[in-house]
């Protein structure tokens, strides 16, 4: 026979009982109390009904994951296969380091300040170096534009080879500008998108699934070079506040796939796939194409 609960214990356990959080002995003791106290039974029932009501109300307005998002996540998962060996090794090493990290955590504020200082200095130095290259000026977008772009294309950049087949852009780079113009319903022409003169072959194009408006994802492959991705988007509303004739870094320059961005009339181009320094040559080639 379980020991009866006093009022203090009942107050402590009743909700947990209603939520099924108690062990067998605690459950029996609450039940014993409830058998003598109808108000406690009613309170427990009320809590259970409330949970069901919340579940019911919120599930009705909870959409399932969209099919394009599902396809994208599956693509990321299959793409990640290639990097498994390295990643697992790194993660296992990280596990061993956790003890050290626990000690370091106490010094987090000081470490964070130092890291920010070093990263800021290195980005600034990198930007200056890039900017110093003749004919290849690079600018930083304003905070509003950076916020808008944020990490929007990070997923596409992680799965550069995956292209949506929903729209046919053809296999010839020569007709690609016309196809892009038609797809984006643009009034102006799209410049030449051929990068073969600098060693990049057109590998295909597809509709970009990233949120924030219709855009075209073009993939180029280079010999002994990683693939690069170009997104083309119409921006007749002038949402992206950058000047024409300049190439900008739209994300932190030190991330795995920084994005370069430029404008031609009402069309905005985004290029990613390599560090900023290597990316500047194809960016400039495209930005100055006729």
């Amino acid at each position: 026979m379980p020991k009866p609960m006093d009022d203090k214990e009942v107050r402590k356990y009743l909700e947990a009982f209603a939520d099924g959080e108690l062990d067998v002995e605690q459950n029996l003791r609450v039940l014993e109390h409830m058998s003598m106290n109808p108000q406690a039974t009613r309170r427990a029932m009320h809590q259970q009904q409330l949970r069901q009501a919340v579940e019911r109300a919120m599930k009705e307005c909870s959409p399932a994951a969209p099919s394009d998002l599902r396809a994208k996540i599956e693509a990321i998962a299959s793409q990640a296969n290639d990097d498994d060996a390295v990643t697992l090794k790194q993660m296992r090493a990280a596990k061993h380091d956790r003890g050290i990290l626990a000690v370091l955590r106490r010094w987090t504020p000081a470490i964070a300040a130092a890291v920010i200082l070093v990263v800021t200095a290195s980005i600034w130095f990198q930007m200056r170096q890039d900017a110093a290259q003749p004919g290849l000026p690079v600018y930083q977008v304003d905070a509003r534009t950076a916020g808008r772009i944020d990490r929007r294309h990070e997923t596409c950049a992680a799965a550069l080879d995956r292209l949506s087949k929903a729209h046919d852009f053809g296999k010839e780079v020569g007709i690609l500008p016309e196809k892009v113009k038609e797809f984006l319903a643009m009034n102006e022409g799209v410049p030449v998108l051929d990068l073969s003169s600098i060693g990049y072959e057109y590998a295909g194009a597809g509709q970009c699934g990233a949120a924030g408006g219709k855009s075209v994802h073009v993939v180029y492959r280079g010999k002994d070079k990683p693939p690069i991705s170009l997104w083309i988007r119409a921006d007749s509303e002038g949402e992206v506040t950058i000047d024409e004739g300049k190439v900008y870094v739209a994300t932190p320059a030190d991330i795995a796939h920084p994005i370069l961005i430029w404008r031609r009339n009402t069309t905005v181009f985004y290029l990613t796939g390599m560090p900023v320094k290597e990316l500047m040559t194809p960016a400039w080639e495209l930005a100055t194409a006729r």
Binding site: K8, R11, K12, L14, E15, A16, D19, E21, Q39, R42, R43, H46, Q47, Q49, L50, R51, A53, V54, E55, R56, A57, M58, K59, E60, C61, S62, P63, A64, A65, P66, L69, R70, K72, I73, E74, I76, A77, A80, N81, D84, T87, L88, M91, R92, A94, K95, D150, R151, R152, E154, T155, A158, A211, G212
Partner: protein
């Protein structure tokens, strides 16, 4: 665990992860971005995953919440002094009378609408706990783990969330002429 098995489990939870992202962001585009970021991080962190009783869902939720709060630039998870004080006060608050009305006696459609509004209006700290517990079926300890807060904080936040919702529903009951004490 095999990598393929890990990925299958992760993708099986996509609807639940998206649902929670949608409730956090309240916007389909932002929710999709958040889910992508969550899966990128999860796949990179595969080696740190340890399979427990409730599968991969609580682990994915933890990453989701970390991504969300990092993106917001805020740390709403941290327990506040007020939280702890409320937790201390939970026992005495339970002395309040039990509702005299029965939820089953209310019009469900009306309840759904009012509940949705009340949940949307909740302080995010309370809403996070409530949704993880009520919709996703996480245990108190799992919610505490996802949000990185003590178990007592989960209990007090949940208590407060339920008390607020219960009060709103009491208004619905009163409007419908169902007796309240």
């Amino acid at each position: 665990m095999q990598t393929s098995e890990f990925r299958r489990m992760a993708i099986d939870e996509l609807d639940a992860v998206y649902r929670m992202a949608f409730h956090l962001c309240k916007n389909a585009d932002s929710a999709a971005d958040l889910v992508q970021e969550t899966y990128l991080r999860a796949l990179k962190a595969e080696a740190t995953f340890e399979l427990r009783e409730r599968g991969i869902r609580p682990w994915l939720f933890k990453i989701l919440h970390n991504c969300f709060y990092t993106k917001c630039g805020k740390d709403r998870r941290a327990p506040t002094l007020a939280d702890d004080l409320r937790h201390e006060g939970v026992a005495s608050e339970l002395d309040t009378p039990t509702p005299a009305w029965d939820l089953a006696s209310l019009d469900w459609e009306q309840v759904d609408q009012r509940l949705k509004k009340a949940i949307d209006d909740l302080d995010p700290r309370y809403r996070d706990v409530l949704l993880l517990w009520a919709i996703e079926g996480l245990k108190y300890r799992e919610v505490a783990d996802v949000l990185d807060v003590p178990l007592g904080t989960v209990m007090s936040r949940l208590y407060r969330a339920r008390a607020i919702l219960s009060e709103k529903l009491a208004q619905v009951a009163a409007e419908n002429g169902i007796a309240t004490e």
